[in-house]
Each structure stands twice: as C-alpha cells, then as structure tokens.
C-alpha cells in the first residue's frame, strides 16, 4: 500500500464513525420527519399509510396549510420567541458583569469562578427545575416575603409558581452559563493596552466600555445569544413544570402533537418550522460573528 493510500485509509477510519453516527441518528430522522410532515395522520394517531387503498401516493401540504391558516399556532410561536428574547436579554445583562469579573480576576480565582459557573451542570436538569418549584412555592420564604410586602400596600397576593414569571426565572437560570462562557472566552482575550490607549486619548470609564470593550465583545455576545435563544425557543420541560395554563410554548405544542393528540404530520411541521427558525438565527449569528472576527484579525 502506498503512503498516500494508507493516509487516505487512516483519514476514513477516523472520520467514518462520527459521520455514520450523524447519518443514522440525525440526518435520517430529520428526513423521516420531513417526509412525515407531508403525510396524513392516521385515524387513531400516528401516520396514515404512504400509499392508500387506491394505490395513490398520499402526500399533501395540509399540515402546513393548517399551521399558516390557524392563528393560534403563530401566536404560540410568537410567544415562544418573546420568552426566548426576554431570556436572552436577561442572561446578557447578568452574564456580562459576571464574565467581566471572571476575565479580570487572577488566574487562581478565575478557575474557581469558572467552576462555579458550570457547577449546576453536575446535577440533573429536571431536578434543578423541581428545585425552583420549591423555591417559588406558596409556602416558601420568597412567596411569603413578596405577598407580605404586597399586603402592606393592600394589594392581593400573587402566585409565584405556575406563572410566566416562574418560567422566565428558570429559563434565565438554566441558560445563564451558556451566555457566560462565550462572553468570558471573548473578554479574556481583550488587550488592556487598548483600554489604556482609550483612557490616554480622553475616554472615561463609560466611554471606554461603550466605544471599546462592548463593540469588541460583540462576537461573544452573538455566540452567547445564539446558545441561549435557540434552546430557549424550543424548551418544553420548564413551562410544563413551572408554567401556568397560559404558558404553552412551541415546545409543549410539539410534545402534545406527538404524545397526546398523536397528529404526527402536524407535530413534524411544527418541528420543522422551529428547526428552520433556529438555523436561520444561528446562521445569521455566525455570519455576524465571523464578520466581526475578520475585522479584528
């Protein structure tokens, strides 16, 4: 065997397993879902046969038409996008100072602080959501404090749990590390000489932040925003557990279509719309970040 041939073989040996994995567990299911979105639902759920009794191929766009024509689905979609946007903004507001603190602290503390940021990942996602159920519950200190304060002003008590508030708090909590880490990775590379130069040229602390630090951190902001917004858009566990009856998001809707209503074609349509929306967002975030990176080179 020639050296070149053995090199080619080695390359295939390394890349084939992950490629195969993605083909079987990602590409194929996605194609199946796309196909399902054009099929009809069976009478008792699932999918109707692809070829009907008359021997005709049963493919249609009925489910897509339903998504576009029935406004309730667009409303749920808009609501999901709203929750994801607010989550992203709050994550950004909380993560920016935190990432700045970590990036500016000494080597020793930096590692410790980063460890604390990723520490929540060590316990189960669902357990952390249920923990919020206890924290926000009607008998917990927080609810008593809030409602006690409201009572002082003669206002009626409000439930913290099973509300949009609970969903948002938990969405922000769960996604915060995904904003902190890319922001930290960006801020950590910033050159102190640039801030010195800006100060030397007459910029005060506020001007140094808005003219130098923030614009240079935009690639990190975009990366963090994409990492928060996209999963927040499709989430279903948090509104399921902590949300009220009004807090049905697109993720819950998809889950319902597959597990409860058993309308697989329509569930597939919702999934595809969500995937395409996420792809467009991730693509534009990557494009903006790349443009920024090229300019920084």
């Amino acid at each position: 065997m020639t050296a070149r041939a053995s090199k080619r073989l080695a390359r295939w040996a390394v890349t084939a397993p992950p490629l195969l994995y993605l083909l079987v567990f990602f590409a194929a299911p996605t194609l199946i879902m796309v196909l399902a979105s054009f099929r009809s639902p069976a009478e008792f759920g699932g999918l109707a046969p692809l070829v009907d009794e008359a021997g005709k191929l049963d493919l249609n766009v009925d489910s897509y038409v339903r998504f576009v024509t029935e406004p309730v689905f667009m409303r749920v979609f808009a609501k999901s996008a709203g929750y994801a946007t607010v989550t992203t903004l709050f994550c950004l507001l909380l993560a920016y100072p935190l990432a700045t603190l970590i990036a500016s602290s000494g080597r020793k503390y930096r590692d410790l602080l980063l460890l604390l940021v990723i520490l929540p990942f060590w316990s189960n996602f669902l357990i952390r959501i249920y923990a919020w159920m206890i924290i926000l519950g009607p008998n917990a200190a927080l609810a008593k404090l809030v409602n006690g304060t409201l009572a002082l002003f003669g206002a009626p008590p409000v439930p913290l749990l099973f509300s949009g508030f609970a969903v948002l708090v938990c969405l922000v909590y769960v996604h915060l590390p995904f904003m902190v880490l890319p922001l930290y990775a960006n801020l950590e590379k910033h050159d102190q000489a640039l801030l010195d130069a800006a100060q030397d040229l007459g910029a005060n602390a506020w001007q140094r932040f808005w003219r130098i630090t923030f614009p240079l951190s935009l690639p990190g902001v975009y990366a963090g925003a994409a990492l928060v917004f996209i999963p927040a858009l499709g989430i279903f566990a948090i509104p399921d557990i902590l949300g009220g009856p009004e807090d049905t998001l697109i993720g819950n809707l998809i889950k319902q279509q597959f597990l409860e209503t058993r309308d697989w074609p329509f569930g597939s349509v919702l999934s595809i719309v969500l995937t395409v929306a996420a792809l467009v967002l991730a693509g534009s975030a990557a494009w903006v970040a790349r443009r920024g990176a090229r300019r920084d080179a």
């Binding site: 050159d191 640039l194 040229l201 003219r211 240079l216």
Partner: protein, 369 residues
C-alpha cells in the same frame, strides 16, 4: 519654567524599587529620552507621567500643575504605545477621530483635523483602511497621528520602534526627528536602544536600577560617560580599571593589569590610592604594524603616550568596519575598530598578526570609582 518637572519620584512594587528618587525637567519643544536596560524603571516613569501609575513619593508637575489627582484621561499628554494599541474595530479615520470626539471637538472641524494629522505622518488616503490592513510602520504612524491630533502639550513614546525591522526603524527615526521639529511638541521617548537614543534626542537620561546614572546631551553621554555603566551601555567601550598611581598636570596614570601604566587626561583631582577606570572607545585606538612616531609638540594628542604590542586574537568583520580584539603579552584585551575604507582590501589584519595598538592621553576618559 520647565514644561515637565519630576521631583524626587519613587515607585515601589513590593520589595522592588522600580523608580528611586528620580528628578528631572523637560523643556518645551525638547526631544527627551529615557534610556536604559529592561527593568531600569524607564517605562514605570513614563506610565506615571501618563497617569497609569502613581508615585509613592515625589511630585510630577506639568506646566507647574501637580498631576497627582489628575486621571490619565484629563492629562494633556498623549502616549504612543509599543504595541500601537490601535482600535481594531475602527478605521484609520475613526481611530484618529476618537480623541477629537472625546474632547468634544465639533464634527464640522474634525474632518480637517484628521486630514491634517494623517498628512503630518504621510498617510493621506489611508483613512478608510482598518488596522489589520496596515504594515507595522503604517500602524505606528496612525498611532502617532492619533496622539497628535488634539495638539497635546507633550507626547510620550514607549519604545515605538522596537517592533519594527532595522531598516524601517532608521527611516522612521528620521521621520520622527522631522515630525518633532515640525509640531514643536516636547517628546519624552523611552527606549533600550542606545543608537536610537543618540540619534534622536536633544538630551538623554540614562537609567539603571531605578536611578538616573547620567543626564546629558548625546555627545556628552557618549564621549564623557560619568559611570562605568554608562560607558558600557552606550556603544562599545574598553574599560581599563586599576589603582591610580600618579596624577600630574591633568594626566592620571592608572595601573591596569596586563598593560601597566595607562595615561589618561582628567580634570578631576584624584586622591592617591583611589581606583579608577579608563573608558576608551575602540574607534579612538590606532592599530598598525608599527609603533607611532612621537609627537612631543602636543602631549595630549601624542599617540605614542600609550602604545602596546599585541596579537590579533579574533576579529569581527562587519562590512563597513572591522573590530579587532588584540591581546597583550600581559593578558589584557584591547578592542580596536578600523573602518574598512581602503579599496581592494576587506580587512587590514588577520587573526594571529602581530600589531601595535596606541592612543593619545586625550582619547580615554577617566571614571573615578
């Protein structure tokens, strides 16, 4: 009144004293250089003038005002950083506009000021470029234009040429001299490169271990080094040390091991038994196959005063000049430099050649210890 006055400034970092009781004054329009090896405190001193660091003791006055409570953004001085520190997300024009915006210069005035500043550094037409599209020398010029655009009272330059290659460094040096003359602003220039310091400055403060070893004009620094450190740091120098055996009529005789009594001119009155060093520049030494003729008419210029036989131990051919290291029978080494000016011959001597080195009394410079 001096433009900048540094009075007894000291800065310590833990046990390390970076700047140790330094006093100096910079005049308006002066090109002043802080020269020294890394860690000598020159950059710390510059950062204190800019305001990025504060002295532990002493005062820094600019035009008579104490700067102790003035933050860097309010000091009327500008710094050119070694790394240029251009804002990567801004075009050349936006970089130069930045200090104008901070100073709230009306937008209508900015364009003309930016163009004038870019013209000063010969970068007209580069305004739309981004820093990553510029060469090192161009980045340096943008940094200078950005620092000069608000007409500061003083420009601080922190090793601005260190990152450039030798040829470009020379070109930019000449440009810097012309620019400084043109704008008439005082420059305080920090460098570890003695050639740069000698070529550019009106006055040089040579620093070592946080102190000023000598503050003088370049020719005085080179010709009359006050300490062994200065003699050794600036250019090449033979440092011939030993006890002083005799002083008589402005001439001291130093007993140097391997050479014997070396005669050197000195104005100082030296107590008997003191030790001293004769600092002798290699280019002032005559190197030939035979001893020079006596010249009793002018005793200070008589090359016969100090003459020694020796052998060329090794040589360093440098194109325009050759450095010969000549060993005497007593074991001393004398470095002599000869311009390769004679056509048709690369160098005058080869390793192993027997030669005669000699220099007049006035060639050396006496440093008391």
């Amino acid at each position: 009144m001096a433009l900048l006055e540094i009075q007894g400034v000291t800065r310590r970092f833990g046990d390390f004293t970076a700047v140790d009781d330094v006093s100096l004054a910079v005049e308006p329009g002066e090109f002043f250089t802080l020269l020294g090896p890394s860690g000598c405190g020159k950059t710390t001193l510059l950062r204190m003038i800019a305001g990025f660091d504060l002295p532990d003791a002493g005062r820094i006055l600019l035009s008579g005002d104490d700067l102790a409570t003035t933050p860097p953004e309010l000091r009327p001085v500008r710094t050119v950083f070694q790394s240029y520190a251009l804002f990567p997300h801004m075009s050349v024009a936006a970089n130069v506009a930045f200090p104008l915006q901070m100073a709230r210069v009306p937008p209508g005035e900015r364009k003309a000021r930016i163009e004038a500043a870019l013209e000063d550094v010969r970068l007209t037409g580069f305004d739309k470029r981004y820093p990553h599209e510029l060469s090192g020398g161009q980045k340096q010029r943008v940094a200078i234009a950005r620092a000069l655009v608000t007409h500061p009272t003083m420009l601080l330059l922190d090793e601005p040429l260190a990152a450039l290659d030798a040829k470009l460094r020379e070109d930019l040096s000449i440009e810097l001299i012309n620019l400084q003359k043109e704008v008439g602003i005082a420059f305080v220039y920090v460098t570890h490169d003695q050639t740069e310091a000698l070529a550019l400055s009106h006055r040089i403060a040579v620093m070592n271990h946080g102190r000023i070893e000598q503050l003088d004009e370049p020719s005085k620094i080179y010709g009359y080094p006050r300490t062994r450190f200065v003699a050794d740091f600036i250019g090449h120098c033979n440092l011939l040390s030993g006890p002083v055996i005799q002083t008589d009529g402005g001439v001291a005789i130093v007993d140097v091991e391997g050479l014997g009594g070396v005669q050197v001119a000195t104005q100082a009155s030296i107590p008997g038994g003191a030790r001293g060093t004769v600092a002798l520049r290699p280019e002032k030494i005559r190197i030939a196959t035979s001893a020079p003729a006596e010249n009793p008419a002018s005793p200070l210029a008589d090359p016969h005063a100090n003459h020694y036989r020796g052998t060329v131990h090794d040589l360093l051919y440098m194109g325009d000049v050759t450095v010969y290291r000549v060993g005497t029978p007593g074991g001393a080494i004398v470095e002599a430099l000869l311009a390769n000016s004679q056509t048709g011959r690369a160098k005058f001597f080869e390793v192993g050649d027997a030669v005669e080195v000699s220099w007049p009394v006035a060639a050396g410079h006496f440093i008391a210890e």
